[in-house]
Symmetry: none
DNA sequence: CACTAGGGTTAGGGTTCT
DNA sequence: TAGAACCCTAACCCTAGT
């Protein structure tokens, strides 16, 4: 099948956040077509963006675990999205990822990453891109 | 408490195999709701089916050579155990299910596909033929 | 017809129990 | 230590509504 499962890379997440910063949540198509961060999301559909944002919003929610919690808690967009558009524009997708492999294998960087738990790579990337992380 | 650990019976395993033969792997919900073998799996969730299939696939995997390793080798029924539809039909005495949808039970779902989604026929064929590597 | 929102399902890593 | 059964949830699908 096409893709066994394409995990989101930190670059893509950053691009999505930048897109939401600029257009606001719900403007998935516009985000995807934006010339700034769009290139980072060529392998993602507008629906993918929507789904990912939903997942991010959920996890950003302070939730212990449905394992021992009730949990009707739910969704709501940004936790602490204080990043400005200027910062978003500062993102240079081409600087962090090869422009060559647009399609067949966009999962490049973290495709074979299996590490668990918090990885500092995310934080580093966020820092490099000038974005802030939604959850501590 | 909620889950005393319910071991899978041979009947359930047979029903699962029959379901995979019919719908292809990955169509857990469809398998579970099938009027023919579904009744055998009423106490199993679609996720349970998925998990069980995974376990079966793993154990069916050859583990002789210690030199071969590296790939996930996703799904595919055991090469040695080729339960055919006939066997599948033989497994369930409950085949006398509700007369409700007795008819279009055979090829219903896969017959009127819009052209999207994976052709499970291929996968079944590969499985039966013992081909490997669902995805390169 | 294209897009979005939201519910539903699957895939795969992780955990628990035996 | 290994394997089976079950949990968690990101990623993906389906469909109604606009």
């Amino acid at each position: 099948m096409g893709a066994p499962k394409q995990k989101w890379t930190p670059e893509e997440e950053a691009a999505l956040r930048a897109g939401v910063e600029k257009y606001g949540p719900g403007k998935w198509r516009a985000i995807q077509k934006d010339s700034k961060f769009g290139p980072c999301l060529t392998s993602r559909s507008n629906v993918d963006l929507k789904d990912k944002w939903r997942n991010m919003s959920v996890s950003a929610n302070g939730l212990g675990s449905s394992r021992e919690r009730g949990k009707p808690l739910a969704l709501m967009p940004p936790p602490g999205m204080l990043t400005l558009m200027d910062d978003a524009l500062a993102i240079d997708p081409l600087a962090t990822m090869a422009p060559a492999d647009v399609k067949g294998d966009g999962a490049d960087i973290s495709s074979d990453r299996k590490s668990l738990g918090p990885r500092y790579d995310d934080m580093v990337l966020e820092a490099v891109l000038g974005l802030k992380e939604p959850y501590g």
